[in-house]
Symmetry: C2
């Protein structure tokens, strides 16, 4: 592997900071690391492998001599610099939704469709966090027993809306516990000890964008237009790990619970936690900071026993849901 | 309506206190109110309609001259006194699961099967909280368009495990926010900013008791053995209102979203909150303290558009999930 020059755009955000930590842990061969952010954050210094690196303001010139640029600064920033990145001969790995559904942009989960990453035209998209975490649990089974329909309910953490949302959850909770008033500015609804329908844009069909992403992105990643997904996406007062209740109906007969466990156990990036005796199943507190997605509650659906199963998955939104998946994509390129 | 003598067993518990408040609000004709609890709580004084009432220790003699006894002190206490209650000519309205599935014990949601309440043999059971809140949202539609199968995911509050669990959530959250250690004693897992699979007993089939209650109790309440329910029950860090994501598949063609809204709007005890423009849907903070169950996110299931719909319901676990429903049953008897 030749050493690469890597840039992080949005380096001071919740995902940006995880990019730095994951680049260290996965030990990518890095020649040079460039930390980019908005003018407001420029001048800060962040640590990478014991060395302080100054954060620079992102400009159209930032991508010269950069091989891979990891973007996590929102769709508008990704769109703003996409041409500059491409013209510099650099590859953008984009955590935003800007290009995910573009026909010439691969949408990649390295454990599932690594081969797609190599067909890029300068941009590779990182899927939506809920989609990644769901498919990590679905794909090991789907690969052998094709899934026809998924009924999905999510329990999504604050981190999906950035560190400001995590901070709002913290501050709102402190105020609530002290019987103090609190006015939210990031989330549309009170977040302390409360939950609410996902705060993404509501569409004509009554679904929000987050819900439709799980459907559309899954079809693209799996290269399977015969899978359908109906989702209910909910924000819960949890800091950084998403949980998802997944009901999977198969085209043919459902595999046994034991076989599902074996298929999941053998899959990289998955840890099965399904200890019925001790009522120990996946939980956000154990998924947080964990590179693996935790899967459990694997059981036949008693309402459709020959055709469907239920399971529950937890994954760190900032890691496998964002930074880890993106750095794994980068690793496919080096 | 003739005045009744009413007893509350478990008067100092989370549901017990709501019994007192709901008895006041629903203005039942009460001749005498007796507050009963364990020896430990006896001697306390609680207020009912501006009058202090001393809490007495429950004994086998407690039910003499009592017409209706509202029980919420756990299954073992309900079992312990059931014969004494019946022998006193008193009717037990039991919030525990002790007798719910007994063939001669009606299981009643007053808006759904009030006629069953009158067929009692001294005991009427109050259904499980998740079941009540789910069926309040399902029945108005099911009555006209029979439901075949439900995929249910719950987001359940601490109150279902009593006020000790609510206190544990509060204390664990304070400790978490202050970076202090905390050892839980009520819940099996850390509760601060965390969620976990429902803490009821795990059964052979991989479902916990709470999940199987939603299935079995629904069939009994609806008098319909053709409805199947597969549930995933989860505790979330919320104090007192349950939320539930409900996917309903119909035997025949699904009704339109507009018709579902109309059917729900017209049903007593339901408030439709489905404001897509402002992303305002049912939330626990608005369901808490509310006698109505809140229903929204009503939409066609895009994975099965001619046959299924999704909706989201929130209800106060201590009110419609427990005390309110029980007092409404008492009202049917007076």
């Amino acid at each position: 592997m030749s050493e690469k020059s890597i840039a992080i755009v949005g380096a001071t955000g919740a995902v940006g900071l995880e990019f730095i930590s994951v680049l260290e842990k996965l030990n990518l061969p890095i020649k040079n690391l460039k930390l980019l952010a908005s003018k407001r954050s420029a001048g800060k210094t962040l640590k990478f492998k014991q060395t302080g690196i100054p954060v620079e303001e992102t400009t159209r010139e930032s991508f010269k001599n950069v091989d891979i640029a990891l973007f996590s600064a929102g769709s508008s920033i990704s769109r703003l610099y996409a041409e500059d990145v491409k013209n510099s001969g650099c590859v953008m790995i984009d955590n935003s939704s800007a290009f995910r559904m573009d026909a010439d942009v691969p949408l990649v989960i390295p454990e599932i469709n690594p081969q797609d990453a190599l067909k890029h035209n300068g941009i590779i998209a990182n899927p939506n966090c809920s989609t990644i975490i769901m498919l990590m649990a679905v794909y090991p089974i789907h690969k052998k027993y094709p899934v026809k329909r998924i009924v999905l309910s999510t329990y999504q953490a604050a981190s999906g809306a950035g560190w400001e949302a995590m901070e709002e959850l913290r501050k709102a909770s402190i105020a609530y516990l002290n019987d103090q008033p609190f006015q939210q500015t990031i989330m549309p609804h009170p977040y302390a000890f409360n939950l609410f329908s996902h705060n993404s844009k509501m569409l004509e069909n009554g679904y929000n964008e987050e819900e439709m992403k799980t459907f559309k992105e899954s079809r693209k990643i799996l290269h399977d237009d015969n899978i359908s997904i109906t989702a209910t996406c909910v924000r819960v007062p949890i800091f950084r790990a998403h949980s998802e209740a997944v009901n999977m109906e198969f085209h043919n007969e459902a595999p046994s619970v034991e076989e599902c466990k074996t298929l999941l156990d053998e899959f990289p990036g998955i840890k099965v936690i399904d200890d019925r005796k001790n009522n120990h199943f996946p939980m956000p507190n154990e998924a947080s900071g964990n590179y693996d997605c935790l899967v459990g509650r694997i059981r036949k659906d008693e309402s459709l026993p020959s055709k469907a199963i239920n399971l529950f998955v937890c994954g760190d939104q900032l890691l496998k849901g964002a930074a880890l998946n993106a750095v794994q994509i980068a690793k496919l390129l080096v």
